[in-house]
């Protein structure tokens, strides 16, 4: 197995002090933001994105990835103890986690959540080791038409990221695509949409827009919402009993496998898989009546699905360049900033980078288990930090971050404008993730389109004549339909459980 050898090499690189430190920082920040209300992995990665201009690619991505999967662990804590799902994907965890906490069994529930997350996280990464190279081996078969088809496939993700209205999602996507066109065109070299303004001739900086939409908007939202400090009751021992473990071990694996398999599909979000695995667990249980009243399997299954899906999300990200969730979209931006264009070629050209990051994910998951089991009480206390303290820190970091990328105060202005814009978009329920996705992928889409047509002398048939390109286009169509069905289903379930329409893209 070539992949295993590469992975072992990855471990030697991932275990160097600096990389180890980056993984620790990443998972710590991730756990923290997963827990803090009003700050999620997406904003955290956005705020720390400018560090990419200081850190090398390996260190930077190890840290950013750590934030992403670390936050998946953190999210379960508030869901179980406070009945506050940090993200929609944590809603199923609340269903049985909070009743358990009320019965004084919050500790074991947290323990099971951490163990399930760990098992699924490791399962997911193992899957990543085997699946990603299969896709990546096809690397050089991908020419411009195949990339174009891949971008079309990526755009079907909008359906999943759009939240409540697909039409709104498409409009926002188009808007993002238009913003991406500002500046020098990717193929001809002619300036576009700069209105004669020098600052615009270089186009918008990806980081300042991301910081604006995800960090500054978050602060503005937080200032509006009333944040009250919530006290946490007694947690008890976090080490689950043997019967708890026996009851949940099957749920863990089932959740993990469902989460992983669906997670490979480009664009399948954790919200979809956590609900699905919870429902399946309930159907398979001999005591379905216990669900919702504190069944430990009801915590294990969705938590496992959550982590398996988020690990599996790295497969379409690394191998195809398709982000399945908002934090992964920002991570994609991080890769692009480093000039590491994700896609089949990434494994070919930057193999050691990819394998080091994957190895760091094994290490990170072990660290998370260690961090989460004994320290969970401490973490729970952190949820009480008042927002008035967090908000100014985020804001200052955002401005510094936006400035340092190109040492340009125009970018700070852009971040501010997009921050305010993001606030209003959120308020009127226009999803911003399609915007950012199209902003990131727009130039690639255009370029591969133009490249394909230069290859074919302007014949559009090039997209359907080539087998790989045609296959991807057909898959896009199928996926588009499946996504719509799954999203509909998840939406109804969310409504049943929460009682209102939630923005399931977050």
């Amino acid at each position: 197995m070539e992949a295993v050898g590469m992975l072992l090499n990855g471990f030697t690189d991932a275990l160097t002090p600096i990389n180890l430190m980056m993984a620790v920082i990443g998972v710590l920040v991730g756990t923290l933001v997963g827990m803090l209300p009003g700050l999620g992995p997406t904003s955290a990665i956005a705020i720390l994105l400018p560090l990419t201009s200081v850190l090398g690619p390996v260190e930077g991505i190890i840290m950013l990835a750590g934030i992403y999967y670390g936050a998946m662990y953190g999210g379960s804590t508030t869901a179980i103890l406070l009945n506050i799902p940090g993200e929609v994907s944590s809603v199923p965890t609340c269903l049985d986690g909070y009743p358990l906490a009320k019965q004084g069994r919050g500790g074991p529930a947290l323990g099971i959540a951490a163990i399930s997350s760990f098992v699924a996280g490791v399962l997911g990464v193992i899957g990543l080791v085997f699946f990603a190279p299969i896709l990546a081996n096809q690397a050089l078969k991908f020419g411009p038409p195949e990339y174009f088809a891949l971008m079309i496939l990526a755009l079907t993700v909008i359906v999943n990221l759009a939240g409540n209205s697909i039409i709104k999602g498409l409009i926002m996507g188009l808007f993002g695509y238009m913003i991406s066109m500002v500046g020098i065109g990717p193929s001809g070299g002619q300036p576009r949409f700069d209105f004669g303004i020098d600052a615009l001739s270089a186009g918008f900086d990806m980081i300042s827009i991301i910081i604006g939409l995800f960090a500054i908007t978050e602060v503005l939202k937080g200032m509006e919402e009333k944040q009250t400090a919530i006290s946490v009751g007694k947690i008890g021992s976090v080490y689950p009993s043997r019967s708890d473990l026996r009851k949940s071990s099957k749920a863990m694996f089932r959740g993990g496998i469902i989460g992983f398999i669906l997670g490979i599909l480009p664009g399948c979000s954790t919200a979809v898989t956590t609900f699905l695995s919870y429902d399946i667990e309930k159907k398979m249980s001999k005591t379905p009546e216990k669900f919702g009243k504190g069944a430990i399997e009801g915590v294990a299954a969705p938590e496992a699905a959550n982590n398996a899906t988020s690990s599996a999300g790295f497969i379409p990200l690394f191998a195809l360049g398709i982000p399945s969730s908002p934090p992964l979209a920002i991570l994609l931006a991080g890769l692009m900033i480093y000039g590491l264009q994700p896609g089949p070629v990434l494994f070919e050209q930057n193999g050691s980078f990819v394998w080091t990051v994957i190895a760091s994910m094994f290490i990170g998951n072990v660290m998370l288990l260690v961090l989460n089991l004994p320290l969970v009480g401490l973490w729970a206390k952190l949820t009480q930090i008042p927002y008035g303290v967090i908000a100014p820190i985020i804001l200052i970091l955002s401005f510094i971050g936006a400035y340092t990328v190109r040492n340009n105060s125009f970018d700070v202005f852009v971040a501010l404008v997009f921050g305010v814009l993001g606030y209003f978009l959120h308020k009127y329920r226009w999803p911003v993730v399609p915007l950012i996705l199209c902003f990131i992928l727009g130039p690639l889409l255009e370029q591969s389109f133009v490249q394909s047509l230069s290859m074919s002398k302007g014949e559009f048939s090039i997209f359907v004549e080539r087998p790989i390109s045609l296959t991807i286009l057909v898959i896009s169509l199928v996926l588009f339909v499946i996504s719509i069905i799954l999203i509909r289903r998840t939406k109804t379930r969310v409504k049943e459980v929460v009682g209102t329409d939630l923005d399931i893209s977050e």
């Binding site: 020419g143 270089a202 340009n408 490249q451 230069s454």
Partner: protein, 338 residues
Amino acid sequence: MKKKALFGLLSGVLSVSIVLSGCSSTNSASGKQNKDPGYPTKQIEVIVPFAAGGGTDLTARAMSEYLSEEWGKSVVVVNKPGAGGATGTQEVLKQGSKDGYSVLVQSVSAVSALYAGNTNLPFSVEDQQFLAKMTGEPLAYVVSADAPFKNINELNEWVKKNPDKFTFASNGPTAIGTFGTIQWMDSIGADFSKARLVATNGSGDALPKVAGGHITLAVQGVSEVSNLTKAGKLKILGIAAPERSPFFPDVPTMEEQGVKDIDVSLWYGASAPAGTPDYVVKKWETTINKMVKDPKFLEKLDSINVRPDYMNADDFTKSVEEETKDYTEIAKEKGLVK
């Protein structure tokens, strides 16, 4: 109350950022004076108009490390990419200080090739005081490792027989790869007007597409093609240089294979805004000349597969002028500029 606090915070942060930006552009209005105050007396800012990690950036960083040590003042590299190098170039030439503390490190792509390809740039070669050429590397002509051509002559024959099947990757209509392709086709008597340019976004985009056989040819710097060539995915058919490359001693030069008159190559050099005093130019010339002989610096260049190629300010200026003239003519003749 909350709203007030928010606005107070925003205006505070904004004013900080305005002060910051004010500090970064120290515009002392010194014209052409010839009294040396012991330059450099403070930090020098070096702008690279391309992204970090590229060929220009690597040379600039190796240079700044040497100069910081040599002069005892920090020399800081700042990347300002965008618009094919025009963004960062404009910033130094139009907004930079003319006292030697605002310096530009560019590659040929941001100078001669850029001037040749664009008639409406906000700056011109008259705004530029060249300091010294530092490093350079020849262009390599690469095809997929699976391509049916064993040497450049087989490709020559194929192109002449199949002019309408030939595609080449280049970073734009007037990027260095285009000029490399034109000179080669002219030399072998093939018809460039039938060749199809596939515009790519840097070598990271172009080379895998050539390696996969989607595009016939790429003409890129030796340092850029070395990874995929060593991985056995690309084949170098020839290198356009008078001598074989020390990094690929087995690859014949284009001239050895009978393809003559290719003089396009990649170079990296330093410049400043016009009006920068002579003592600054002298100081850069002498120090860079010393630098390209320094063993530690050379070792660094080896690791990035680039060779030293020193030229003083006058020679550098002349060579850029000639090069720009040549490229402009080629661009006009082949209809690259619309």
